[in-house]
């Protein structure tokens, strides 16, 4: 249980700040959700063996929630569970700071249910900082702004098998604006919205990644000098209001689940680093209000002052997270849009207006806010704004998140064109882990599409041309019946333990869970009622209640009733039930997984040069040269690649008797 913070004090006290000189194994640039997972993962992997540094503009901003005070949600909740199963920190921090927990999609099947939490944003940052301080003795926090990447040219002869194909540079460290040079074997960039960040509120433009914070200006140029191509994306955030000034009396409350369900598989157990008991915080409600015709009129009248419409902003924003001006223009027939009023903290009076992200000028925002029910007298604490920032289109990274061009340079989070804390954190964890693996000179860990949403996300990133900030949806996962929030531990924890990212205790905990589930399954399949139906078959039906099942008259295996009534076993019975329900479907998925795995297992060697393969169509050749897929599976998902192209690639990479055309001729 972290100390209750005073948001005005320095919540960063526990963090160590060792001597920032000497060589680091991993430097993480940025302390947002990608950065903290990267630092955590790298530090845990290298404990006792290597040093990790995190460079941040402001130590107190480590783990800060820049936008909405919520973690999880549909598909994103699965990612957080995966991060937890892999030994990451996001779930721990969320459980420690969560002030409302809900399972979304409860009425739908278990595969598409996801946990979501409102977090106290200050307590969240403190929880993150506490975790880093308590569990990362080899982590050094350095305050500063990175101005330049230091790299040396690679000579072809020196390329190792681990090096990305055709890397022209090897990373050597970073130089800060202060002039301080930190050398490192690997560098992970998690720059969020700070890379040439430019905020827009109406006509007003302010350089910076977040309100009141600076921007990283020199880094973009340095990246470009190393041959990295950059693009520009946009995102936005709504105004924050003072709680006391809102009249909640007429607004519908939205409570959380009772009892709340935690994110981490460890919360509520002695293994949890922060949440031996759960929930750790008092639970609160959100409230719902709506825009109205007057608000829409105001927006239409002032569209010429909205940067997205005046031409002031050219970059693309996400379709799934439109600003209120976008909603009004694109869905003109709708007379109202819903707004969730979400408390940002138990200790401050900030309320986040989820649903009216905007970059309209302050005077228009003021009038909009005051035209909305409950907000007539609301005091605006912070204006909404849009922010533009640099990102690196992801054909430039491999699935380990290492750049093709610069050996040892990894990218994670919004710099890869994604949006969302969870997407950022998932990449951060993988980048931290793979940077540590590169230091250890072992092959990177790549999660595949059938293992994890994180695998789906990274695979999408390295095979698709981005058109908007990338957000996870369950419909992106072709194996979503298997990629559930209830089984992330079964999917990933063994892997995490085997590579040293998760503690051995977790493996033991999981083994015990598996054993219990197997026993329950066995007993369910043994028990049967008159007529021959087994308890397993009955449980698989969607209309069977577990309580009702436990009261049935079993003619064989009556012991099952005690199992079904044991509250300690209930979560595992529930999970066995999910598996029973999905059985046939998951078998089908597994068949497809098998086919996918075969393609994934065919590595495309570093030396493969698509430009020399004359049989390939031009479109296929271009796609292969641009994305440089590392497996046949990745190649198969590139746009413009047909099965025939794959056959040709396969022929060129896999025959033991392959000869050069000259030798053959």
């Amino acid at each position: 249980m972290p100390p209750v913070p005073n948001p005005n004090a320095d919540p960063c006290q526990p963090l160590t700040c060792a001597d920032p000189t000497g060589t680091f194994d991993v430097i993480v640039v940025g302390g947002g959700h990608a950065g903290v997972e990267a630092a955590w993962a790298a530090s845990r992997m290298l404990t006792g063996r290597g040093r990790v540094a995190m460079i941040t503009m402001d130590r107190r901003a480590i783990g800060r929630m820049s936008c909405n005070p919520a973690i999880g949600g549909l598909a994103k909740g699965q990612i957080v569970r995966e991060i937890d199963a892999l030994g990451g920190l996001m779930a721990h921090a969320t459980d420690a700071a969560g002030i409302q927990f809900r399972i979304l999609n409860r009425s739908k099947g278990p595969a598409v249910q996801s946990p979501r939490a409102q977090a106290d944003k200050y307590r969240y940052a403190v929880a993150v900082q506490t975790l880093l301080a308590a569990h990362c003795p080899n982590l050094t926090i350095v305050e500063g702004i990175v101005d330049e990447l230091l790299a040396s040219p690679v000579h072809a002869a020196m390329r190792t098998n681990e090096s990305p194909s055709n890397a022209k540079w090897t990373i050597e460290g970073v130089k800060l604006e202060s002039g301080l040079i930190l050398s490192a074997k690997t560098v992970i960039l998690t720059t969020g919205t700070f890379l040439r960040g430019l905020m827009h509120t109406g006509e007003q433009k302010t350089p910076g990644g977040r309100v009141g914070e600076k921007t990283a200006a020199g880094l973009s140029a340095s990246m470009a000098r190393l041959g990295l191509e950059l693009g520009r994306l946009k995102t936005g955030t709504p105004p924050r209001l003072a709680r006391d000034s809102i009249d909640f009396s007429g607004l519908a409350p939205q409570p959380g689940d009772a009892p709340p369900v935690p994110f981490s598989y460890l919360s509520g157990t002695p293994l949890s680093p922060l949440c031996g008991s759960f929930p750790a915080q008092p639970q609160v409600d959100c409230h719902i209000t709506y825009t109205n015709a007057a608000v829409h009129d105001l927006i239409r009248e002032n569209l010429h002052r909205a940067p997205m419409y005046s031409g002031q902003i050219q970059s693309r924003g996400p379709r799934y997270c439109p600003s209120i001006e976008d909603k009004v223009v694109r869905f003109a027939d709708k007379s109202q849009h819903q707004i969730f009023l979400e408390p940002e903290s138990l200790d401050t009076d900030e309320i986040y207006c989820n649903g009216i992200s905007t970059s309209l000028p302050a005077d228009v925002q003021d009038r909009i806010v005051h035209s909305i029910a409950g907000m007539e007298k609301a005091k605006v604490l912070k204006w909404g704004y849009a922010v533009e920032y640099d990102f690196a289109p992801t054909h430039q990274i491999s699935a380990s998140l290492q750049t093709h061009a610069v050996q040892g340079l990894f990218l994670a989070g919004q710099i890869n064109g994604t949006s969302g804390y969870e997407e950022a954190a998932g990449q951060g964890l993988m980048a931290g882990l793979n940077a540590a693996r590169l230091v250890q000179q072992v092959s990177p860990v790549i999660l595949s599409r059938h293992q994890a949403y994180i695998g789906v996300m990274i695979d999408d990133l390295v095979t698709k041309i981005p058109t908007e900030p990338y957000r996870m949806f369950t419909s992106r996962a072709e194996f979503r019946l298997s990629l559930r929030s209830d089984n992330a531990d079964q999917r990933l924890t063994d892997l995490a333990c085997s590579i040293g990212l998760a503690t051995p205790q977790r493996a033991a905990q999981l083994a015990q869970k598996r054993q219990t589930m197997e026993r329950i399954t066995r007993e369910l399949k043994h028990a049967c009622i008159a007529g021959g139906a087994t308890a397993w078959e009955l449980l698989a039906r969607p209309d069977t209640e577990i309580a009702a099942l436990s009261a049935m008259n079993f003619i064989r295996g009556r012991e099952i009733c005690a199992v079904l009534r044991d509250p300690a076993l209930l979560p595992m019975v529930e999970q066995v039930r999910i598996e029973a329900r999905y059985q046939g479907y998951i078998d089908r998925e597994q068949h497809a997984v098998q086919r996918l795995t075969e393609l994934e297992s065919k590595a495309i060697p570093r030396g493969f040069d698509a430009s020399t393969v004359i049989e390939l169509r031009r479109e296929a050749r271009d796609a292969l040269l641009k994305f440089r897929p590392q497996t046949l599976g990745q190649a198969s998902r590139l746009e413009g690649i047909t099965p025939a192209d794959l056959s040709i690639v396969l022929m060129h990479i896999s025959s033991p008797r392959r000869k050069t055309p000259a030798a053959a001729g």
Binding site: L74, G109, R116, E615, P643, L646, S655
Partner: protein, 450 residues
């Protein structure tokens, strides 16, 4: 692309032929083949010809088994040799695929051979060229399809299905979003059933691609040694059929294209009708019955020893019972006494002298084009199309059945899964609808996002 699964394909050239070959390659080749065939001798040593019969219709065939790596592809390979009737081959292939084999892609046997080191680069380049050529053919075929009705039809169905799926996915991925009104169970079920009906209608109304782009077909039928083969050679002016004086020379249906003033007509020969309890004859007889269903016009050929009212009656009834137009031809007219005139639908010809051949040609054409609807009015489907449509239909049926009832929403992800599978199957006919496109449909229609 994978090399550990088992692939299957019809390896004999398209169209009816004396012998059809179905080839399998992969670890399960033999067990898969033996699901359909019963071996008449012991399981094979490394490479052997095994007489087999097709279960359950007991058509005799042969299987060549090559144990990998001593095979063309380096894997276990089975070649099934069976009378080359297209529907028969198609049915066997479909059954193999249903049993777990995968339909082989262009050049896939060859690429397996290359991967397993069974051919060198020179050969591989030939294969690559072959693959490219196959693709070029496919490309041309696709090009012609693109303007065609199947393409238009498929686009309509995938579009409708993708719209429905977008609504279902929106309900899953954006259920916490305000203002997204989703589809009702009844509308969803109705929409899915509508697409199912479309598929069924297409499948019943379409003609098979294998019927040579739906050339009208005349089947020659008659007693053994009535001279059907000679007649076909005359009509098509080519030595297509093996001609022999021995009765029963023609074992398998063979075909030739006849050019007439009205257009091309496919002529099919059948084995002679003959009383025999020999297995092979029974098999051929069965085959001929299948072929009758594929022809537009039945040409009944009798030679002098067989000309009798009883025979005429029998054959005419055969034609009528099959619901087909028919013609009666008195062949070997050079052996018949000259007479004045023959009744309607009856002709005298001599394959030897050429008497009446030109007239018969035009007569068959008149009957054929009267009987056969013009190919252009039909959507033609090949084996792959039908397999995709069948699979899509099954997925849709399961999806539609799962909708409704108190608990259906708790299985919405399974409905979505079946709809996705159906969409992938239909997409296989004219382009896959990606998940991104589904998301695009959602964003285009709904105000998503807080």
């Amino acid at each position: 692309m994978m090399i550990t699964d088992t692939i299957a394909a019809i390896s004999s050239p398209p169209g009816p032929a004396a012998r059809g070959i179905i080839r399998l390659s992969g670890p399960d080749s033999w067990p898969l083949a033996m699901r359909m065939f019963e071996p008449l001798s012991a399981p094979p040593p490394p490479r052997r010809w095994i007489p087999v019969i097709l279960k359950p219709s007991r058509i005799p065939a042969g299987a060549l088994f090559f144990r990998g790596p001593a095979s063309f592809t380096g894997q276990d390979v089975v070649e099934i040799h069976i009378p080359g009737a297209v529907p028969l081959l198609r049915r066997i292939l479909a059954a193999l695929i249903a049993a777990g084999a995968r339909s082989a892609g262009p050049g896939e046997f060859s690429s397996r051979a290359y991967i397993n080191g069974k051919c060198d680069l020179t050969e591989a380049e030939g294969i690559a060229a072959a693959i490219a050529a196959t693709n070029a053919i496919q490309l041309r075929a696709a090009q012609s399809l693109r303007d065609g009705r199947l393409h238009q039809w498929t686009l309509r169905q995938t579009g409708a299905l993708a719209d429905l799926l977008a609504l279902v996915e929106a309900g899953i991925d954006f259920s916490d979003e305000p203002g997204v009104s989703f589809i009702s169970a009844a509308d969803l079920q109705g929409g899915i059933r509508g697409i199912q009906t479309q598929i069924q209608q297409l499948e019943t109304s379409a003609v098979n691609w294998q019927s040579t782009a739906a050339l009208p077909t005349a089947l020659l039928i008659g007693p053994a040694n009535a001279g059907k083969s000679s007649l076909i050679n005359q009509l098509s002016r080519q030595d297509r059929a093996i001609v022999s004086h021995h009765a029963g020379t023609t074992r398998d249906p063979i075909a030739a294209v006849m050019h007439t003033s009205r257009g091309q007509i496919r002529l099919m020969d059948s084995a002679g009708l003959e009383d025999s309890d020999h297995d092979m004859y029974r098999a051929m007889d069965q085959l001929r019955r299948q072929v009758i269903n594929q022809a537009d016009v039945l040409v009944l050929v009798l030679d002098p020893p067989h000309i009798s009212l009883a025979a005429e009656d029998l054959l005419a009834r055969a034609g009528a019972s099959a619901g087909m137009a028919w013609l009666l031809v008195y062949n070997k007219s050079d052996l018949l006494p000259a007479t004045s005139g023959v009744p309607e639908r009856r002709m005298r010809v001599s394959a030897l002298t050429g008497e009446g051949i030109a007239e018969l040609r035009e007569m068959i054409a008149a009957q054929c084009f009267a009987a056969a609807p013009m190919a252009a009015e039909y959507i033609t489907l090949n084996q792959r199309h039908r397999a995709a449509l069948d699979a899509a239909s099954q997925h849709l049926a399961r999806a539609a059945a799962a909708i409704g009832g108190d608990h259906w929403e708790s299985a919405i992800e399974l409905v979505a899964g079946d709809m996705r599978s159906a969409l992938d199957e239909l997409g296989g006919i004219c382009g896959i609808v990606s998940n991104d496109e589904i998301l695009g449909r959602i964003f285009g229609r709904f105000c998503i996002g807080k």
